[in-house]
Structure formats: C-alpha cells, structure tokens
Symmetry: D2
Subunit: 258 residues, 4 copies
C-alpha cells in the first residue's frame, strides 16, 4: 500500500508559520575559548525555519541530520553556514538557531591567586533571512551590595548574588570573556568558586566599598557598551535575589548604539 508523504501535502489555510522545528535538544558542542583555543561543552538547542503557507508540514528529521554534520565544528565560526544548510535542506526562506550552554573560565582568587573554574551560562542566537543576524549573550553571577542599606545603617549593608544577562550584536569579533569582564567590573564585586580567608576579606571589603543599585549595574554596563565601537546593539538585565526579601529587584535596558 502506497503511503503519502503527509508533510508534503499542499496547505490551503493561507497561514505562514513563523517558526517551526525542534526544541530542547541536548547536544555536545565546541566553542571558541580565549585562553584555551577551544572548549567542549553541552548545549540546549532550538532550530527552526519559516514554513511557507503552501505546505502542510516540515521534515523534522532533517534538522538533526544537518546538526550531526556540524558535530566537529566550532559553532561560533560556522553558524551562518549552518543556517544556510538548514535553509537549503528544509527548503525555507529563513532559518533560526538558539544555543544555551555553560562556559567555564579559570579565575584567580584576588589575593591568594589560587585558580578555580567558574561557570557562566551563555547563549548564541542566530537567524538567516536575506541577512545574517547574530546575538551573543552571557549570564554572569555577581555580588550586589545595596547603597541605600549602607547609607542608612550604622554598620553592615545587605548584599546578594545577582545574575546579570548581557546580550550584544557586534560588527567586529568580541569574546564571551570580554562580555563577562564588562559585567564583573560593573558589580560591587565579582564572585569566585574558591576563596581563601585573605580573599574573603578582600571581596567583603571591596563589595562594601562599591555599593550598586540594580539600576547602577545596568547603567554602568550600558556606558561600556556605548564606548565599545564593536557593539552595535545590546540589552542588559540584572536580577538581584535580595537577601532581605523573598523576591527580586530587576532592571532592564536595551539600546542600538550604532
């Protein structure tokens, strides 16, 4: 008995689907690493295409076939080529990929200089229509110490871990590590996996000397984005997991800078 290729049926509903594809694929990838050339990590991946109004369905298995063919490639270098292959293979006008992955940086403690690895959740988001669009992002844990709490209190000041997410479009290459440094230098203090006593004294005092509101964090980073000529667009948000509340303080800024 002959079976129809149901996905290939003509569709008469006159509705183009903006994005259709596969979501939440776990997959080992290779990313560029400023210190070690490359880094092996594991991504959570979504891949979509636009589906023209004329066809009933897309071919889900082809997304995986193209992904498998890029298994040994450094993805940040090859995303445009990957998206071209997706467009061709799926017969679509536009293709889209999002990858989220942990990225590890070997950090030296501020006084003892002992090294330890810190994980940063990172993201590449790329699309290809007529033009290629590419956004890279980092989520950076930092310490934020409250200026108001310091000002009004005889001693101490509440502080907490915050997660700052910075995303950029650029016209010249920029490392994930550089985005991380832009965020960390805008905090009350950066965080580390391993701190000895001398280091803990240092980070405690440094945070107390550098109080920042959630508003200050995003504004300081925004200034740095404006001053980096490679950046053409950015968004930055900070979520401060307040140590005196059971909710977060939050701020968000998005700007085109070129």
């Amino acid at each position: 008995m002959l079976k129809n290729d149901v996905q290939n049926e003509k569709d008469y509903r006159d509705i183009t689907i903006d994005k259709v594809g596969v979501k939440n694929i776990n997959y080992p990838i290779i990313v560029e690493d400023r210190t070690n050339t490359i880094q092996h990590t594991i991504a959570n991946i979504d891949i979509f295409v636009e589906l023209t109004k004329d066809f009933r369905g897309t071919h889900m298995s082809r997304f995986l076939e193209v992904l498998n063919s890029y298994h040994q490639e450094t993805l940040i270098d090859n995303l445009e080529s990957f998206l071209k292959d997706i467009k061709t293979t799926l017969g679509s006008n536009s293709s889209y990929i999002k990858l989220q992955f942990p990225y590890f940086v070997n950090k030296k403690a501020p006084v003892s200089r002992i090294e330890s690895l810190l994980n940063y959740q990172c993201e590449f988001e790329a699309s290809l229509k007529e033009k290629f669009d590419f956004v890279i992002g980092v989520s950076v844990p930092i310490t934020a110490l409250c200026p108001c709490s310091k000002e009004i209190s005889e001693y101490g000041a509440h502080n907490q871990r915050s997660i700052v997410t910075l995303k950029v479009r650029y016209q010249d290459f920029i490392w994930l590590d550089e985005l991380i440094e832009y965020v960390e230098s805008s905090a009350s203090c950066e965080v580390y996996s391993l701190l000895k006593r001398v280091d803990e004294k240092y980070v405690t005092e440094k945070a107390y000397e550098n109080p920042v509101f959630v508003e200050d964090i995003v504004r300081e980073i925004a200034l740095k984005m404006r001053n980096d000529n490679r950046i053409t667009w950015f968004s930055v948000e900070s979520e401060n997991f307040e140590s005196i509340h059971n909710h977060s303080a939050y701020a968000f800024v998005e700007q085109h800078t070129k």
Copy 2:
C-alpha cells in the same frame, strides 16, 4: 547623622532604564471565572516602571504598597487603574505588570460525564504608557497524535502531551475559558484529570481519528483567531513533547488580525 535618600540622587549617565522594579512576587489574587463569578488563585507577579535618566533609583517598597491596596480586587477588571496608581506613586511615564497563575476549570469527562478540575497556566501582561495595552494568555495541555506516524504504520500512531500557549489582544471582552476552548477544539483530543474506562476508549479513538501535526495545531487556532472579531492580535505556539524523541517539536505564529 542625616542620611541621604540615595535613590533620589540626580543621575548624570544619561541612560533611561526601560524597566525597573520587583520580580517573582508570590501573591494571592482574585480573577474572574465564567462559571463561578470569581476564582481565588496564586500569582507570580512582576511589576516595573520606566526610570527616567535623571534619577539614580526607584523606590522598590512602593510597588508592594500599591499591590497591597488592590488585594481584594478582581485584577482583570482593575489592571488599568492599578497601572495608573503605579505610575503616579513611582513618578514614572510608563508602568508594566505581568501575572502568571493557575486557573481551574471543572470539566466533564466525555462519556461518563464525571467532573474533575483541570489546571491551566494563565497570564495577564499589561502596560500603560500614553495608552493601555493588555495581553491575556493561556497554556493548554492537549493530546497531539502524529498524522505521519498514523499514515505510514499498519497500526497505532505515536501521540503525546503538548502545551499550547495562546496570547491575544482584544477589543471586546473575552474569557480565558473561550481561549482554552479554541485550543482544545484544535487538538487531536483534549485532556482531563479523571477518565473512566468508557472515557479512555473515547479519547483514544477520538485522538486517532484526528491526527494533527504541530503545524496544524497552530494553524487551526490561527484561523479561529482571524474569525473572532473581538481579537486584534494573537500569538500561538505549540510544544509537543514527542513520545518517540527526547526533544520537542515546536511551531509558532504571530499575527495582527485587525
């Protein structure tokens, strides 16, 4: 010793903050319920304002004070008034709220007519600048049975739970329950908390008789949105947690319909 109101300090960095405020507040709310007039539920709430470039910080405690003053109100009826109060109290040009909450509907099993409660994750998202903007959304669990699997197999067809998220803007009032029905009538079959044997036979056969791709689900809903004159904009996405894969199939459509 006189303490400064640090938030009120003048800011010279020339950066307007798009959104600043409180995030991830758990709070009991009252929503309108088509069957029972009102329903008590518990929301996860974000509330933000725009912060003009002239001030260093916003006053986080005032968000909670305004929220507390609306504690006994039916929120869907009062969101514009709430956002006006936020603007006034925080001295801002624009205010924003997002509420996510479970909403329960008492459903009758299709054959036995036994009743049980099903939970739907819902969302209100509203902002007030010069004009008031309001989006309501529902996330609806459904059964999706694969047309390709049915077509090519001698017997059986893989099927799975999908979550369909439908968001709309409207010009005349629409119940959450109506959005839920639009989604459920576009599925292979709707889901229930309690099914007896006669019901399980019914839903199994109904799903087999109504195979839908993830693409079909969003297109069928899109057609209904176009045909409902109250709707002015919608977005719909379906994530199918494939029973034959460890990832999801996904489709998304967004359209202005007026």
Copy 3:
C-alpha cells in the same frame, strides 16, 4: 466484543510495587491558618498505594475520585481519613500522599509595622500502613550573614538569602506558623515583602549583629526542636545561596527527639 479489565489481570512476576499512583496533580486545597482559621491555596499532589504482587495494575482514576470527594475539606484535619479511603478504594495495604503548597502569612515590618504577605512553601507527607505517619514541613527564606566574613573584614560582611527546610513529626498539634517562627528566630534576620527605610536600617543592622554560619542555623533550630515536647522527630536543612560564590553552602541534621 468483550474487553478485558487489563489492570485486574493476575501477575506472576512476584514483585510487590512499593508505590504506584498519580503524581504532579495541581489542585486547590484548604489548609488551617492560625490567624484566619482557613486559607485557600493550590497544591501539587502525589498519591500512591502499594500494589501487591498478585495484580498487574492499579486503577488510576480512583485516586482522583477520592481526591474530589475531599475537595471542600480542610486537609490537615482529614488526611488519615483520606488515606483510609484510598486504601479501601484501591484495595491496598498501604497508602501515601504528599502535598506541596504555598502558605501566606501577613507579617508586620519590624519598625514601621506596615503589613505585607510573605509566601512559604509548605509540605504535608502522610502514609497509612498499620499506623498513620505524618510529617509537616516548611521552607523559610531568611537572611544569613557570614561570621567569618564579618570577623576578618574591616567593614561589611557578605550575606545572602537562604532557604531553610524544617520537617517534623509531632505528638501534639503544631501550627505551620510555629515552625516558621522557629526558623526565623534562628536566622541573622527574617525577610519581609515590604520594608520602608526605617525597616531596612533595622534588618541590615540586626543581620550584622547576628552572624550565623549555615551550621549555626541548623543547630539553633535543632536545639529548639529538642526543647519542644510536641516534636518527636525532625530534619532541618539550610541552603545558603552565597553572595560571593556561584554555588551554595549547605547543612543538614536529622534526629529522633522522643
């Protein structure tokens, strides 16, 4: 055509199933509230029975039927009766239920006395074999300020939000509110949803005056459990979301006290 009741088939594999049933049901419930008599909330519920080695399957729909029959009951008062009904209806020797739900307490800010609601994630876990066993638990957000950081630093001290989970078995009734107070009084400071300037000064200074390690938190609570004659068993854990690291500090103690 006659259909078999497949669940009722005899099983020959000689394997008793410890727990079988339904998991992750969202359901509105009523719990007792020390201040307001009752509180409506929404629970995530698991209900299981033991399945003797003689039968192939259990009847999943009956769990929901029994749950529905308790819809209007205050659950903490009726869990033993509920579990008896589950045993009878499912024909089992043992039954089990776990409910997790947010519980709201109206707290007064420490200086301004302004009121606001704080949410605590709570848990009831009950089983009925020959005897009824019942555990109640609360997860309480608190502020923890590090004694080492305070001691070694010229000024300031890192502090963070911690979540302390306390579970108890008791021989005389104890309110969730009492467990919450045992935890909050063992912290550097308790947290609030709404704090004015005078309150923020108070909580900042109080936390600085009461530094506690994660070890101190669980030990202080353990002492209180030993001194409360109603308590027969407890477990307490604290997870401190360190503001200077991207990981948590953690401690756990479990003891029979009678």
Copy 4:
C-alpha cells in the same frame, strides 16, 4: 588586629551535623564511556562531610581545593580516593559526593541505521564512612503505550514519553550503558534523536505491539536486576507523562537482591 578562625571555635550545642558542605557546583568532569573510553561532560556536584559536635564550622574552600586536584581524573575510577582526601582534608569521619551529569550515547536508528546522539541524565552518589558505598543511576526517556487504552479501543492507543530512573549498587563493575539497555528493553519502544520515515513506522508499530503499564516497566526492570549477579541493590521508578492527562502515572520499587 588578630582575627579568629571562627569556624575552628569549639561548639557546645552537642549537635553533630550529618552533612555540611557545598552544593550545586557546576564542573566539567571526565567519565568512562563503553564505546569511546572516556567522555567529557559537565556535572552538577554536591560534596558534604559530617561535622562532629565539637566544632562550630567546616572549611568550605577545602572542598573546592580537593575537587580541583581531581580535575583531570576519570571520576568513576577515583571516587573512593576522592572521598578519602575529603575526609582527611576536612578532618571528618565521613564524606559524601553526588554528581549528576548528561551522558551521550550514539544510537543507530532501528531500520535506516542512521546514527544520532541521545542524552541520558546520570548520577553517581558515593559516601565513605568505615566502608565505601557507591550508587550509580541513569534516567532514561522511553515510549510507554497503555495496554488498557489499546485493549478497550477499536484503534489507536495513547502513548507518551516516560522517564525511568534506575539506580543500583553492584559488586562487579557495570556500565551506565548496560543500565540504559536494561531500561530500554523494558519499554514499549526506545526513543531516538533522529528517525527517518522507515524508522518512525518501525517504532510506532513496535510500541503498539508492546503495551506496558507503568507497573510493568518497573517490574520488568526489577526482574532483570534480580537476574544480574553483579547487582546487590536497586531502585527503579517510572514517571509517565500521560498524553491524556495533565499529570503523571508513577511507580517505584526498591529491593536488596543479594
């Protein structure tokens, strides 16, 4: 000014802390791989020790120092030595580690034989008191097709993705891959990342030919555990994300087999 080592203070509360240490560390690790000798992956790690009643605190930074010294080691081979070092370095009578990580297996589609990677969440949990205790576990996504739905319906049968978690203690080495195979061979069908049309037909029909209740899944695996002489203890649970409900069906068995 001389600063005290606050953690080293004598404690008089007479409470031994069962577990104290660091939680939720993200860290790249190396695990043994049956096919490729080794596999690089990323773990979420907790490391604890017992803290005797005589001391106020443990030294959190030392956990990281020991972890860093094992950075290039294949962890499954070296966990006992790791836990010895933790005991020595922290001066404790007992130490504990838990690692959770994705593990990738290259699977061939059942008919086309096309290869693709599937991810399995795995776990090592080890403790060292007088004796070394070691548990390995795998979480395996599978297809489960309902025997009752098949029996009572004229055509079709509801099926869904399930996650089966199998943990074992063993007296002779066993691969993670072997545990995965024990689970997959007990399902209606195994799942794959990449399936062509011929494969989709195969898995659809295979699942329809092999209906299993959640109870059958755990019992079939339990039988295999009893028959593998290397296994001394196991626990197995299956959570079926029902395609006809918004909740899960669940079963759990735990047994000593030696």
